[in-house]
Symmetry: C2
Subunit: 267 residues, 2 copies
């Protein structure tokens, strides 16, 4: 039976609200996801929140009822609250009617089974939560196994990143690592590391990519460091006919990822 919380000063409200800050997420091992659609996709992928907050309006939706039932059945807590409080929790004037508090999971490389897919995406120092979300959605679409975040990337559990993934956070594997750690893990098994670079000689449609393919994308402003490029098995370039010298990082990733997929699929 859902309990009701209507006071801003409630301890749980304060605690959940603090999860908008990375420091508190790390301390608690929890993060926020908003919206019935994302929470339902998470549940379909096997992830239930420890707490689910919903408004009276939201409570009438059959998917909310299903979610509340599942959360309570799994030992979690369902909390009916007010729109103002949801707004306070999510930091948005116009909040979703449902919000979940999830336990963060193991993002170490050792938890990644590379044989689970023949495409993996690797991002280095990716800073923008929107790009992270877009790349995860693209990974989902091309059937990638997941996203490996190398060096100082935006926190994939930040509210903005979770929002931008539109649920793909729960269907794609996420790992975080420093570059040397990633490289030694990569070389401990099969896999071709492909970097896109303006310095590359070969067009991205020239090679036949070997599975599993690891597509490496660099920081939005700087691109890949030269020694990271040197460590790639292949460097390829995406043609650019115009005045600009770079594509958006998520766009470059998608163009590469669809090339790899297109080489392997039958239409």
């Amino acid at each position: 039976m859902p309990r009701q919380i209507t006071a801003y000063s409630n301890t749980l409200v304060k605690r959940v609200r603090s999860l908008r800050e990375k420091r508190h997420r790390r301390e608690e091992g929890l993060f926020l996801a908003e919206g019935l659609r994302i929470l339902t996709e998470a549940a379909d992928a096997g992830f239930l929140p420890e707490y689910v907050f919903f408004t009276r309006d939201g409570a009438d939706h059959p998917l909310t009822k299903k979610l509340v039932f599942a959360v309570e059945g799994a030992g979690g807590e369902a909390i009916e609250t007010e729109r103002d409080i949801l707004s306070k929790l999510s930091g948005k004037d116009n909040p979703q009617t449902v919000l979940g508090v999830y336990r963060e999971w193991d993002t170490s490389l050792s938890a990644v089974d590379r044989s689970a897919s023949n495409i993996w995406i690797v991002a280095q120092s990716l800073r923008d939560p929107g790009n992270l979300g877009t790349i995860l959605r693209t990974g989902d679409a091309v059937g990638a196994g997941g996203l490996i975040l190398v060096d100082d990337c935006v926190d994939p559990f930040s509210v903005e990143a979770v929002r931008a993934t539109m649920g793909a956070l729960f269907t794609q594997k996420i790992a975080t690592a420093r570059w040397p750690e990633f490289l030694s893990w990569l070389r401990s098994g099969p896999g071709e590391l492909i970097g896109t670079s303006l310095r590359a000689v070969h067009d991205y449609q020239e090679p036949r990519y070997e599975a599993p393919t690891f597509i490496l994308v660099g920081n939005e402003a700087q691109g890949l460091p030269a020694d990271y490029e040197d460590a790639c098995d292949r460097l390829v370039k995406i043609p650019m006919l115009g005045k600009a010298d770079s594509l958006n990082a998520a766009v470059a990733t998608a163009v590469m990822a669809y090339e790899v997929l297109n080489q392997r699929r039958t239409r």
Copy 2:
């Protein structure tokens, strides 16, 4: 000779600052672009600001000097100011050292020469300035002629959109139109209108696209209205193997645009 402005209360400072609001941009016919790199790309493309603001720090850069010289030579005004004032003008705590105030140009369809390129991008009710910028950068990269904004799109002259284009605003043609107006313009000359849709039967790599190709992308949340899809010469689908039911709008545009480019280029 640049004049100096150091007071927040200066009339020009107030006027320029007001350009962050759409209403004032329309009234004045002016918009803001920030950063030496974008302003230099604009100048290379033939666009000089009516006013260029720069800090003493920024003034030492040879490209700033060149820009100031060009602006003054063209009858514009160069203004040396302080970092705090640039911050106030751009709305960023950490402003660029140079900011330009440009005259908006004609964005009517009648100013578009479709024979200038064999790829055009058409966006319908695109809401996100980041997506608009990313799509313009992609257009630049694939050698598109420009971007036609249909119905209620984000203002391409907003500070956020201009920032996200990273200069491509000045190299790509921009037009705005309502759907019926666009459709009648389109049908008044050669051109194939291609929509991507989940309802499509044909894979996006199946057709040979005819030039000029108009790639139509829908609103981020809703996609294309059914009757807009019906008006397309071809509807195609980009394969999606995962759980999610859509790609980011800028990603879908890029995947389509590179397919069209790849069909035509020799590697």
